[in-house]
């Protein structure tokens, strides 16, 4: 089984999914990420799915789970780079990913998280 690497950039964690995800990989990624948020005190998680060709209900649920879990650990999650065909397919599948924030690309995702961090810091 492949493992998805988690990169630390400042106080953000970046997960860039470059492989065809199997269910076990998804489960392990969620656990790894929870560990890393706690260990690093990261304030944000960016999941980059630019390279992801399909999101089925199992993978889609991962985004919601990661978003909820990181919120509990005081970090915000944003999913970036969703392909247009993936977005349409998710909607037809019936998965709306409520509670998951999205941005068009990595840059916009980082902006979103830094704004959120500022406003919750009250600074």
């Amino acid at each position: 089984m492949d493992r998805v690497p988690i990169l630390k950039i400042g106080d953000l964690l970046l997960v860039s999914i470059q492989i065809d995800l199997q269910d076990q990989t998804v489960m392990v990624l969620q656990e790894d990420l929870a560990d890393r948020i706690v260990k690093t005190g990261a304030r944000g998680v960016i999941i980059d799915i630019t390279a992801v060709e399909i999101v089925d209900s199992f993978i889609g649920r991962m985004f919601s789970t990661i978003a909820s879990m990181s919120r509990l650990l005081d970090a915000e999650t944003v999913v970036v780079g969703m392909r247009p065909a993936v977005a349409i397919t998710l909607v037809e599948l019936g998965l709306s990913l409520g509670g998951v924030r999205t941005a068009l690309d990595l840059e916009k995702g980082m902006q979103l998280l830094s704004r959120t961090a500022q406003s919750t810091d009250g600074s």
Binding site: D20, L21, Q22, D23, Q24, E53, I54, V55, D56, S57, F58, G60, R61, R83, P84, A85, V86, I88, T89, E92, L93, G94, L95
Partner: protein
């Protein structure tokens, strides 16, 4: 026609790749490719998780007017589905899924057929046509 086993999580990934290849051969648009591969992923997982494993076949087909398409058959010899309308209900799951696999797959394809017998197994056949 290609057949492949569905007896592990790895197989689910392999089947997605087979279906992608067939969808490209049928000259489907990117959106239609994405839809049929996603449907395949859901049905393969079901055959593995609920059906205890089975086989998948991927076939290039064409209809009366020469339109190309992809037909997928997922067969397992698992417990079968006692209440079909219930299983097709959006959001209903007997396990820990989201209950979107069957209902969602149905929307993603052009033809959907579910044959199942309790104690015997389940066969799901879907077809999607290139536009």
């Amino acid at each position: 026609m290609t057949s492949a086993p569905v007896t592990s999580n790895d197989d689910v990934v392999r089947i997605r790749q087979l279906v992608r290849k067939a969808a490209i051969e049928a000259r489907m648009s990117i959106v239609d490719q994405t839809k049929i591969v996603t449907a395949a992923s859901e049905l393969a997982r079901n055959a593995f998780v609920h059906g205890g494993g089975g086989t998948a076949t991927v076939e290039l087909v064409s209809n009366a007017v020469g339109r190309a398409g992809v037909r997928l058959v997922f067969s397992d010899t698992g417990p079968g589905i006692p209440d079909i309308p219930l299983a097709l209900t959006e959001g209903w799951t007997s396990g820990s899924g989201l209950g979107l696999g069957l209902s969602g797959t149905r929307r993603l394809v052009d033809e959907f057929d579910l044959a199942t017998e309790v104690g015997e197994g389940t066969t799901v056949t879907v077809t999607k046509w290139a536009r």
